[in-house]
């Protein structure tokens, strides 16, 4: 059993609450660095994929898990990030400028879109963002001169101060690039959580009325959440473009938006861990399924909708039996070990709640 003694206020503000956590995350970082020596290049590619999804997940988590605004249109922002990055590089900006800028531009576009959208509540916002996701496809086609339309685009090789990075020929370098972006985005997220803005996000999620009474400007704060969320998502989109090697109007479809949302629910809404756990599921599910299929009915048989169907099934099971997602399950297991042998079964029992309408007639 591990007991925490806090001796100063900084204990609650620090990045890592105690030495033990610092050691755990230090070890995790070391492992991430050493990974290319431990596994072969194919799997490095797979891990890169997980990280890219995790970045996208962090982006959506900030909006949905933290601020409580459901977006089913985040694929549109992946697309904006991806196309912006590619176009900026095509007009001659170096990657080191174009890439951050692509995220910022996505964030700005997201904020502009958010202003009308965030007056909407709950399902209305969900539906508006669905429409956004569908429209993105058509708009990319209409903007053919910039986006290449249906035939799509192929991102150039990345050069950072003369160092060349390419996803297929140099997967290890690309992995380190993605890892760096992941760490930066995670730090941003963590910093927000321990500062006033992050708390304002959570306040809006739980009660808009009392957040207002405490002086939180709802619309402005939601816009910031949307903007930051889109910025991170934009970076993920740019990386996805490099990872795929080619993209067109159909790459960032509504299904991607939905997958992203399901991913963070499976991982565990409202936590950084959740984005990563969810990303692991999303990235490895197709592999697991094809192995399973190969073992049972032969790998060559194509079953359309299998992946999304199984994914949907997993999600339903999670919502029913573990609404806090994989991270919630992980917390329970950890607490059980930490408190051993004092853990009780009903420690995590949820309070019975009733839904009350927000509608007054």
């Amino acid at each position: 059993m591990r007991i925490l003694f806090k001796t100063s206020y900084t204990d609650d503000i620090r990045l890592f609450p105690d030495r033990w956590t610092l050691a755990v995350y230090g070890a995790l970082m070391a492992l991430a660095f050493a990974l290319p020596w431990l596994i072969d290049e194919f799997y490095i590619g797979e891990v890169t994929n997980v990280l890219i999804w995790a970045i996208a997940g962090l982006g959506l988590m900030l909006l949905t898990g933290q601020t409580g605004q459901v977006s089913l249109g985040h694929a549109a922002f992946l697309a904006i990030g991806c196309y912006t990055n590619t176009i900026l590089i095509e007009i001659g900006l170096p990657f080191i400028v174009a890439f951050p800028l692509a995220g910022v531009i996505t964030g700005v576009v997201g904020t502009i879109i958010a202003i009308p959208a965030l007056r909407l509540h709950g399902i209305y916002l969900a539906i508006a963002t669905i429409a956004l996701s569908i429209l993105a496809d058509d708009i990319i086609v209409l903007l053919d001169p910039w986006t290449g339309g249906v035939s799509g685009k192929f991102p150039d090789m990345i050069t950072i101060f003369g160092l060349e990075i390419e996803r297929w020929t140099m997967p290890v370098r690309f992995y380190y690039l993605v890892l760096a972006v992941t760490v930066i985005c995670t730090l941003f997220y963590r910093n927000l959580l321990r500062s006033p803005l992050g708390r304002a996000f959570a306040a809006i999620r739980d009660s808009e009325v009392s957040a207002t009474a405490m002086g939180v400007h709802i619309l402005r704060t939601k816009c910031k959440a949307f903007g930051l969320s889109c910025m991170i998502t934009g970076w993920a989109g740019a990386l996805m473009g490099y990872y795929a090697g080619a993209f067109n109007n159909e790459t960032f479809s509504l299904v991607i938006s939905i997958t992203l949302l399901m991913m963070i629910v499976i991982g565990g809404l409202g936590s950084i861990h959740g984005a990563f756990f969810g990303a692991v599921v999303v990235a490895f599910l197709p592999q697991a399924l094809s192995i399973l299929k190969g073992a049972t009915i032969g790998g060559s048989v194509a079953i359309p909708g299998l992946e999304t169907g199984v994914f949907g099934m997993i999600l339903i099971l999670f919502i029913l039996f573990e609404p806090m997602g994989l991270y919630g399950r992980w917390l329970k297991i950890r607490t059980w070990f930490e408190l051993f042998p004092f853990a009780r079964k009903d420690m995590f029992r949820r309070q019975k709640s009733y839904l009350k309408t927000e509608r007054l007639r």
Partner: protein, 291 residues
């Protein structure tokens, strides 16, 4: 004349959207949740009917198969609520949104496994024959769709306004705890409403399949029905129908008069405009939280 032709086919399509939207509104009125799988329910309803009546399957007479399919879908809706949605009782709308989206994926997958992914046609007596009115040619199916939709809307509207059960359903959505105290069996009421929306989806499915081919991805039509429900305002049954008709009519006209590439944007652009201008739909209720 071309104008009239476009209008009628638009109206018929719009009725299908309207019927799916009715399903959304039903569940929204009663549980304040939205069933994102309603389009897939519609698809499933169509396939169940097809499975019962088509020659290569069970080959029952259509007039027996259709009510049977409606009943099966109603039971399915009820069971779904009983086994799945009831566990989400009291949780946020978001949980239900995500759950029903996932459900849609599962239904699509299951339908694909059972009936395959090739488009199939329902052997429906509605699909045969045209009606000539001057130079306007109306498909029997189109007429049937319009008539049935209007009747359905009237029936459901009366149900919510007049019957005790309908009022109980509304009460249950607005304050679960208070409804409990008033002796309304909230959970059973919600089960019934899911059954009702399942039946509505089956009707929509049968009509849709009578108009053309059906495949597992037909459920994606639900997205257009969302647009319909939003435009009409989620709380209003006639609004849902009106929204469906607006979307249905806009489509053929947009593809006739707009340049290619812009036409398929029209319904969603309209949706976004409505959301910006009148965030709660054209026939909305006021929504303010009381503290």
């Amino acid at each position: 004349m071309e104008f009239l032709q476009l209008l009628v086919s638009g109206l018929a399509n719009g009725c299908v959207y309207g019927l799916i939207a009715l399903g959304f509104v039903l569940i929204y009125k009663a549980t304040e949740a939205v069933n994102f799988a309603q389009g897939d329910f519609m698809m499933l309803g169509a396939f169940v009917t097809l499975g019962l009546t088509n020659a290569e399957h069970m080959h029952l007479p259509f007039w027996l198969a259709a009510p049977l399919a409606i009943m099966i879908m109603a039971v399915l809706g009820y069971l779904l609520d009983f086994f799945v949605l009831r566990h989400l009782f009291g949780q946020s709308q978001t949980a239900v949104v995500i759950l029903t989206i996932a459900l849609g994926f599962v239904i699509r997958f299951v339908a694909g496994v059972i009936w395959g992914h090739e488009p199939q046609t329902l052997e429906s007596p509605l699909a045969i024959g045209d009606i000539h009115l001057g130079s306007v040619v109306l498909g029997m199916a189109d007429v049937a769709v319009i008539v049935v939709t209007v009747l359905m809307t009237l029936f459901l509207y009366q149900f919510f306004q007049r019957t005790k059960l309908g009022l109980a359903m509304q009460a249950a959505s607005q304050n679960q705890m208070a409804a409990y105290y008033m002796g309304i069996p909230v959970k059973r009421v919600q089960g019934l409403i899911w059954g009702l929306s399942g039946a509505t989806a089956a009707v929509a499915g049968i009509l849709f399949a009578s108009k053309g081919a059906i495949d597992p991805n037909a459920g994606l039509l639900g997205i257009k029905a969302f647009a319909a429900a939003v435009i009409g305002g989620f709380g209003s049954l006639p609004g849902a129908l009106a929204g469906g008709l607006i979307i249905g009519v806009i489509e053929p006209f947009a593809s006739r008069y707009f340049p290619a590439g812009y036409s398929q944007i029209a319904p969603y652009a309209l949706l976004l405009i409505v959301l910006v201008v009148r965030p709660h739909g054209l026939f909305s209720q006021v929504r303010i939280k009381k503290v």
